[in-house]
Symmetry: C2
Subunit: 300 residues, 2 copies
Amino acid sequence: MRKQVLSLLLLALTGCATPKASFGAPTLGKDALATQIGEKPTPTSPPTGQQWLYGSAEGSIASAQVYKSMAQFVRAQALNRSAKMQVVLAEGSTPDTPRFESCGAKPLAAVFDADETLIWNVGAMRYMAEQGKDFDPFIWNAWEKSGAGKALAMPGAIEALKIMRDAGVTVIANTNRSAANAKGTEDALRMAGLGEFKHQETLYLMGDDAMGSSKDGRRAAIAAKYCIIALGGDQLGDFAQAFNMKSLSVADRRKLATHPAIANLWGNGWFLFSNPVYGPSIRGSYDEIFTSETKWAPAQ
Amino acid sequence: MRKQVLSLLLLALTGCATPKASFGAPTLGKDALATQIGEKPTPTSPPTGQQWLYGSAEGSIASAQVYKSMAQFVRAQALNRSAKMQVVLAEGSTPDTPRFESCGAKPLAAVFDADETLIWNVGAMRYMAEQGKDFDPFIWNAWEKSGAGKALAMPGAIEALKIMRDAGVTVIANTNRSAANAKGTEDALRMAGLGEFKHQETLYLMGDDAMGSSKDGRRAAIAAKYCIIALGGDQLGDFAQAFNMKSLSVADRRKLATHPAIANLWGNGWFLFSNPVYGPSIRGSYDEIFTSETKWAPAQ
């Protein structure tokens, strides 16, 4: 996630960091670390997206609902002995013309993003928000190294992973945290109660290959050893890098992600977790978010 | 929803309405209608929650995923001839000590909230945001009367309602839109492609009884005629009014909503749709949203 966050948390959080300050006395962030993105007045309460995701009953239930249906799906797949296909797009195929390879006799696996999919980064998110910052890559790097014990398992995750592992499915994380901080991430996942993840066996990180923040190569590496029957993530890049093409407009990205050729995978092999706090989902002008056909004004 | 919106859209949208203005030239709202909540500089792009919900692929997929699993659940219940229980809390019972009545021979029904559950209020949401307003009850009232054709069916809703109706299940809306605007809401639902909803038969509105914005009485009235096998909504009040007790802290509300006595209902009779834009979910200070156990700071 790190690279995405660097370029996108800005879009995501600028929307909410400032106005709360107008309810309180703004003070500048004071941490000693360098900031690559400008500082902001300290908000007196978290951004609305963080209130919904990390604090509300609705945010917790939304996560638990997805984990419940994902666990049911994975367990049913594991009990069903029929031949399986990978749910990862075959190399060179695209969401609008997908190909999927057969699994042969490979052992089953479920592959998850880490940040805001397996764990809530509440320690770092609170710290950066209280500092009035959208995102600080130095703070984030410190979080990857030392955040273990301060990150929370997402609601429903611990129960769902137990069901999957009990069904004989290997649980693997594929995250854009840095390979340089592998131990910190292994510790964060274990201390959140999610069990053991081992770098290059059940934990794939940015830097494991030369493809940067694209997870396609790591997915291919996992699919070479396992039959991936389910993918879980909060960003479309957790399913296929094609969704991150810079050339895609907001509408085209939505259209591609719901293309009839893959639409049936959502909730049925591909499982999306709601994250209204950061990521490529948080962008767009009024004309990009709303269509002209639905423009309305009250009668004067 | 109306009353909730009046008291809560404020909390929801203040977080995002102002800062975007700092990216553009703020101008005051100009609509001729009275405003009960103060105006704001016009933001140059929608609040982040609206970007995620109404514009992003992720927001659309989150809705479609819930509708897909809800349709599967309702269809399976309809095909299963065994005796059913209402999924509505029996009168006088609470989420922590729930009772559910048996359905006897009543016909099956699925009950939905309307706003941000069956339909996206994109016309009014864009208009109010562009006016720099959190919420304006006069504009909202005009929207209930004249918004038909400018509201969109939520992703997955049309397909899911067809599956439910084809399975012999009656689809009913229970919304806090005003009974005085019944025709406008009937028209909005029909013109969004969701089919026919008839006031006091398949459409229950605020003002149908003396309980104001509490939907408990309307749920009881529906349960007197139907076997309610599923509830869908974006706010906990769509499931039980007990979740709206003013005395509940953010943490207590989350605890009550995930109490072991009802936790299994989520995704299994009770279906929640993600709405990070407005509602009782959008509230809380840093100390209310984050626990002290997860407080973290980078090493200095």
